[in-house]
Symmetry: C2
Subunit: 154 residues, 2 copies
Amino acid sequence: MDRERLVDETLMLLPTLMRLVERPSPVETGEISRRGVATDVQVSPGHIQVLIALTRGPHSVGQLAEELDVSPPAATQLVDKLAEHGMVDRHNDPEDRRVVLVDYVDGMHEVARRIVEDRRRPLEDAMSKMTDREALAFVKGLRLLAESFAAEDE
Amino acid sequence: MDRERLVDETLMLLPTLMRLVERPSPVETGEISRRGVATDVQVSPGHIQVLIALTRGPHSVGQLAEELDVSPPAATQLVDKLAEHGMVDRHNDPEDRRVVLVDYVDGMHEVARRIVEDRRRPLEDAMSKMTDREALAFVKGLRLLAESFAAEDE
DNA sequence: GCGGTTTATATAAGCAGCTTAAATTTATAG
DNA sequence: CTATAAATTTAAGCTGCTTATATAAACCGC
């Protein structure tokens, strides 16, 4: 098969997709405002990642950095903004007072679920046009690509 | 099938993949320096997109902006940098002197091919671990996702 | 042909999200 | 009990985008 064409198409598609994903959707901020959170909230993909990670329980800043594959300062920043908007809370780990545990503010679990839900919509739309096999292959491809690029810079 | 899990995994994977793709690979800049172009060249994904687009012939700045789905100033910037490094050239379209046609500098076609080749490597690695069906499904997924996100902001 | 509008590009200013380097606080080890 | 290491934060800086504005060329109705 002509892999070369597929590779080139991916090289063209990926950055464009990246820009689209980053591009703040006006709909989204509208949705959020309707829920009583500040109108001008900017939920970036990184923030969504944090919100999703927290559904699996509280995380330290370092764990978040590792899970998202960003530097610790970047994780701090993400948490900062979510905390500003009252979505998450920091408290010290009693076991090791250096670590900062991040968790949802009481009651915000549900709000987070709905914010993530908004972000999920375009993905669900896209996946609805794939067969099960295709959807699985797509996610597998993302995983392989992430591994491959990660391997590149050691 | 459990699409919800796939969607969530994608929401976690995509931003991380984006960061990895953006992350300048030290190897790459080294490769480039060996070819006589300045050592500190930073070939971003956007620049790669331009180089690939130009393999299909000269493009106006506006055409590049449209093809990469970026604003015209962003396209100007991308061309600026490639021109600084002597990769591409601007000349006026004789048919319409407002449009700036961008094309490879004489002899740089081959250099561009090799620069793109470097960028292609991690993708080829990843795709080598997929079946033909999977590779096709993966690219189809990227296309669908791009369409879906593009549809979101009108 | 001639003013007024549209189109293609460029310049300017600004912002978001990352990075590395340095500072701070707490834990650990000898 | 001091020296070192680890977790987080602060600070500074860079890149790649954006919108708003400027400039030059083309087009259009008359």
